[in-house]
């Protein structure tokens, strides 16, 4: 089994475990218990860090997109999200369109 496969199955197992523990604790702990709030904060922070790195310092194929085009995509997506009733799909399409249009300009 490759490292990628092993990592995948380990993540599957831990994910099932977290959900199972959560369902069991659901009748015991309140959702604002400090342990639950800490797990939630770490989860959001990890995701925010991942997003920040992916947008500002991406790796792989996304790194071939010039930063002005990435910025244009984020601005277009955020503007559509705020201007169109906080709907995700139109915002994502606007973000993609912003990125592709900016890429036509920046090359």
């Amino acid at each position: 089994m490759s490292e990628a496969d092993l990592a995948l199955w380990l993540t599957v197992g831990i994910g099932f475990g977290l959900r199972l523990v959560g369902l069991t604790l659901g009748g015991v702990l309140r959702a604002d218990h400090p342990a639950i709030a800490w797990a939630s904060a770490v989860s959001v922070a990890t995701l925010a860090c991942f997003v920040a790195l992916a947008l500002v310092m991406p790796s792989g194929l996304l790194a071939t997109v010039p930063w002005p085009a990435r910025l244009a995509g984020v601005v277009a997506g955020a503007a559509a999200y705020l201007g169109l009733g906080r709907r995700l799909l139109p915002a994502m399409l606007a973000g993609l369109a912003g990125l592709l249009l900016a890429r036509l300009v920046t090359g």
Binding site: L25, V44, F50
Partner: protein, 227 residues
Amino acid sequence: MAPSAARDGAREALGAPALAMAATFIAFGAAVAEAGLSLGWSLVATGAVYGMAGQLVLLQATSLGAPAFVAMISATAANARFLPMSVAIAPLLGARTGWRRLLVVPFIAITPWAAGMRVLPGLPDSARLPWFLGFSAASWAVAMATTAAGHLAAPLLPVEWRAALLFTNPLYFALLMAGDLGRRGVAPAILGGVVAAPLAWWVGGAWGLPVAGLIGGTLAFLAMRAR
């Protein structure tokens, strides 16, 4: 009652939530293909991890050549929200469901969870579990089909389109977090994660993200407790 509640749940899942989900899972399938991993890997990740944040972090870590244990830690940190989400939804699944409530375990993910938290309190007790399972099964099926579509279509697309598809996932989560800013504790945790991003870059490799997430999230948690 139960079959019709399941049908109602499935019908609701196949509306707007399916479209937004489809876009991100197509992008994930394309990213897995871009990383040189198999269609089977992408389908197991979607079908059994079933938490896009963790899926993306897992993919990134394995692409960097991280050892399996480190990749698992990174992905689990990103999906640690499974725990508070499960705690919050457990009381809403109905009383006297017995072992059948275990059927929801694979399906606690952001889209079914958010819909369940909104709809379940308004349903009769006996309809809650079938509704949630109907919704979850339908959205899971959409996720699987679109992951496969993304993986199979990616090599056929021009490089600019493939790069744009990879942009979809961070954008999706940026928007999702922006929409969640009003919820208690979210803004400090986002700030903690963003401020810790240079630390992730400095630590580098596969450990950068989990270390930064742990430190940023813990500092945000302590700041909230201190207030």
